[in-house]
Amino acid sequence: MIGSLRDLAPIILVIGFFQLVVLQQPLPDFIGLVVGLFCVVLGLTFFIFGLEMGLFPIGESMAHAFARKGSLFWLLAFAFALGFGTTVAEPALIAVADEAAQVAALGGMIEDSEPSRHGYASGLRYTVAFSVGLAIVLGVFRILKGWPIQYLIIAGYILVVIMTAFAPREIIGIAYDSGGVTTSTITVPLVTALGVGLASSIEGRNPMIDGFGLIAFASLTPMIFVMAYGMVI
């Protein structure tokens, strides 16, 4: 509780300073503000409590179970399902896809009508979800093989740079942003626990070097796929 309050103190200070000193305006609806802040503090406390009780243990125990079972196919199927399933319904992604459809319509890449915009947006959404599923599969495969992460990620960056040169200008900003929005608050702890659990149950893997990195793949592949989507359509 005190920890959560300390986590929030910087935001309160920043907003208070800008409102009172820079913009020189009174705080609107003081009681609402205090009640809201109380909710945020309480919520953060519950979230961290539940994280250690539910999300971390389930992620790790599934990783151990798959490692014991030794079936590569099912492990990769699980990885793909987790990546695809958590991304396709992500509200931030839905918002970005709708905005991208607007940009595309304005730029004359698609017809400016409701159905064509809708088709473009949902096509983009499934593309990104597919790319995140693929990213988790690739990341899990990397943990199994023990490949160093930097070669894969740097190769991905080089691909991003090359594609930037050829992709339509309007899509670039959205493509870069889509890398950041795909990983939600519930996905991150689960995927992290999965990676660390896998790395610690396979002999010869270091959980610090091999266990992290799944999120990095999940934020890289959407950039590549969104630019490809913009180039194809």
């Binding site: 910087p10 919520g43 406390t45 009780m53 699980f78 930037t164 990095a216």
Partner: protein
């Protein structure tokens, strides 16, 4: 009363977000692993806490922080406000005149990142896995600093109108160079920290700032230039986290070599 109704609504939409995840986990557990989940009751209660916690968190943000933050982003980017602080008679604003915007971008980027739940989760895990050698606060502050620099630079880019890919590509080159030099342990974690920074708290506030700027700065289009801040916010933490590891390694080496010197003398 209205709070309660809203809390229920947000709870329901959070549950809706969690359902696909729960289905995948329990589906694989039952049909593929075919083993009962250890401490099932505890795990379910944990999930309940996560959903309730996220719902309360989002409700509080929606009630208290987002409206005032968005309003602030609009007011700060308003050309009249900027003219009022720069008592020059000139009609055209130079990029220096937007300094309050950069300061706000830096401060809001750092402070929202400190409160980001998914970053807290990764920091706890990293601390556990590294056996305590990566501090929870050290990592969080390094990431927050990265987001702050990234967003401040991103707003400056919107004002000046330089193309985004120049910044991103330069950033990548820096990341590659640091990867070669930095301690091997930190590299995967640093790459991850780029993706975790931008979720519930940061994105809404930062998006409002970017769109507000792109709408009011002459010659910018909200649709083309309004995007890209998130990309900055996920690139720079990689640089600062690796920098943090490099710095602590260097300090460690220096203090060790000093100790050796005193022992020898």
């Amino acid at each position: 009363m209205s709070y309660f109704v809203q809390l229920l609504e947000i709870c329901l939409s959070t549950v809706k977000d969690v359902i696909p995840i729960a289905l995948i986990i329990f589906g694989f557990q039952i049909f593929v692993i075919r083993r009962p989940i250890a401490n099932l009751k505890r795990v379910l209660i944990g999930f309940g806490y996560v959903v309730l916690g996220l719902a309360l968190f989002l409700l509080g943000l929606e009630k208290a922080l987002f409206p005032i933050g968005r309003l602030m982003a609009e007011q700060l980017t308003n050309p009249e406000f900027i003219r009022a602080w720069n008592d020059g008679p000139t009609d055209t604003l130079r990029w220096q005149d937007y300094y309050w915007v950069y300061i706000f971008a830096f401060a809001i980027g750092a402070s929202t990142t400190i409160a980001e739940p998914s970053l807290i989760a990764v920091a706890i895990k990293a601390n556990e896995v590294s056996g305590g050698s990566i501090g929870v606060w050290g990592l969080r502050i390094a990431v927050a600093l990265g987001v702050a620099v990234g967003i401040a630079l991103g707003t400056w880019r919107i004002v000046t109108g330089y193309p985004i890919h120049l910044f991103i590509i330069t950033g990548y080159i820096l990341v590659v160079l640091q990867t070669i030099k930095a301690p091997k342990m930190i590299v995967p974690l640093a790459y991850d920290s780029g993706g975790v920074t931008t979720s519930t708290v940061t994105v809404p506030l930062v998006a409002a700032l970017g769109l507000g700027l792109a709408e009011t700065v002459p010659g910018r289009s909200a649709l083309i230039d309004g995007f890209g801040l998130i990309a900055f916010a996920s690139l720079f933490p990689m640089i600062t986290v690796m920098g943090y590891a490099q710095l602590s390694e260097w300090l460690d080496k220096r203090s060790k070599s000093r100790q050796r010197l005193t022992v020898q003398s």
